[in-house]
Symmetry: C2
Subunit: 325 residues, 2 copies
């Protein structure tokens, strides 16, 4: 964290004050424990994470690829960069611990707004924001790395699904894609009296990782899990390929005001898809955790080539924002 | 690690093969232990790190800010992104464990070359490269996050220096700045029969974190430490401000073919500056570790405003690549 541009010490000091204040004003951003050092040194010093394994992930949010600043704010972009990383931890059945953020942006960018969105997302999802790096650049690139733990459980990989396992989905899909379409049709204006439309726009701008759902799925004996970031068909394909199974979907729950196409290919909903043996206590685990019941959407098959929905071949497609877009 | 652009699965597969091959062909890139999963899932699954504390840092390398692709290769940029992060761990007295990398780049970028440089730097410095994310973008932005451990020692912060502590430097400064100047004067051409010039260019293009030096300094009882990334005067100023001391330098070792100005303000040498009580066995610790002796360059003073070199006021300056550059 040493290559901070000389002109940005002020911005960093403001962000550090914000990180400290965020805890003191009751918003609940995790603060350093005795012996811990968050921002301000060469590296953050953190308590040794609990559990046998450490989870570690990195995800980029790039202007023009993952976010369109005409359709959402800088704070929304900061929020999203945290949530997509938290979602990677959720998809392992883990809970997030610490995040660090690198931001490259043009000189006139309101870095405080980006930081606000990150702080809000960390606060909402119980993540400690412990350090970062700032740099110039042509367009906004936010890079967040995150750590997590599964405590005493094993992480749920993509590769553990077996034939006859039931396929579950933590919630209906398509809201984010429908929100994006809605915003595009209005040139980015988000004002609406319609509560349903408001929820679609929020799903697109401020996604939330399904952290409690991931832990409940793991506790119920999930054999494989992934977050729906690229689109259901494409993300289930990852599980199928890495587990050596096929999948046969009976139905896909579609979010209100969204289409089946948006549900299947839209991506960015950050719901969790997971597999579990037929007798696994999935519904019980979600109920005990106070969560809405997940949807049973199909089964894994021994034909590793099978990809079907309601008996018809399912096209594997998803959010194809090509490299260099 | 889920928002991988659809068109880049091929590149990711090639990089994954490279990471695996790198271990098998004897180059020594750390490979996953039983129960660990590196690339290919939502998050990497790693053995719980040893020691009481976990170190975590992130640093960006941005084309046009931190690297000039007319003066070095894509592989050099990848190398540098790893080394600047490893240097953050070195400056805590730690050893690096795992790195994850996010790369945003224009469509025609040779991502394999960037990955090659990262793999080479990880191999040279004993770091496991365990995952990443790829995205499009206008210019190359490499974001690396790194974990590390101090094992059973306490991390060496910037804030622990006390009046009368001796200030040490792990090696002479200015080589990187001199290498940059040399490359600029030749329009990027690196060919030279002069071994001294070759070393300057290597110092600029392929910096190495002083990991063994950082551990030796910590073992000898270092009270504060920082890596020289922005320039000696500016980096020592960080220690002074965070420790509440001043500093009085007697001399600064200058690398062969470099100037005092390059040594004081050039930055990017990644030598370590550290403080230790007058009687601390610093020279012994370096000798036992088989390292060249560090340089004794001054003392900390109780006048928190003092910044002097050879009795003259020292201007605090450094590598001021302004935000938005």
């Amino acid at each position: 964290m040493t290559t901070v541009p000389g002109g940005e010490f002020e911005a960093i000091a403001r962000i550090q004050r914000r990180l400290g204040l965020a805890g003191r004003d009751g918003r609940g951003l995790p603060q350093p424990a005795p012996g811990e050092v968050f921002s301000g040194d060469d590296a953050a010093v953190l308590a040794r994470p609990p559990g046998k394994r450490l989870l570690l992930a990195i995800d980029l949010v790039v202007e023009g690829v993952h976010v369109d600043l005409a359709l959402g704010s800088l704070a929304d972009a900061g929020w999203k960069a945290i949530s997509v990383n938290a979602s990677d931890i959720a998809a392992m059945g883990g809970r997030p611990l610490h995040a660090v953020a690198g931001v490259s942006a043009p000189a006139d960018t309101d870095i405080d707004a980006v930081a606000d969105g990150m702080v809000e997302a960390c606060t909402a999802q119980g993540i400690a924001l412990v350090g970062g790096d700032l740099s110039g650049g042509d367009r906004l690139v936010i890079s967040v790395a995150i750590t997590g733990t599964c405590d005493d459980r094993s992480p749920v990989l993509r590769s553990g699904a077996r034939a006859d396992d039931v396929i579950w989905l933590s919630g209906p899909l398509g809201a984010s894609a429908a929100g994006l379409q809605l915003l595009r049709s209005r040139g980015g204006a988000a004002e609406t009296d319609d509560e349903g439309e408001r929820l679609l726009i929020q799903a697109y701008r401020r996604p939330i990782a399904r952290l409690r759902e991931g832990v409940a799925a793991a506790a119920a004996g999930a054999t494989a899990m992934i977050d729906i970031s690229d689109g259901l068909s494409k993300d289930l394909d990852h599980i199928a390929v890495q587990s050596g199974v096929g999948f046969r979907l009976s139905s896909v729950p579609v979010a209100e005001k969204a289409s089946l196409e948006q549900a299947l290919g839209g991506g960015e909903d950050y719901e969790l898809a997971f597999t579990a043996p037929p007798g696994a206590p999935v519904l019980d685990a979600f109920e005990v955790a106070g969560l809405a019941p997940p949807f049973r959407i199909g089964v894994c098959s021994s034909d590793a080539a099978e990809r079907s929905l309601e008996g018809r071949q399912l096209e594997i497609r998803g959010w194809e924002h090509s490299f260099g877009a």
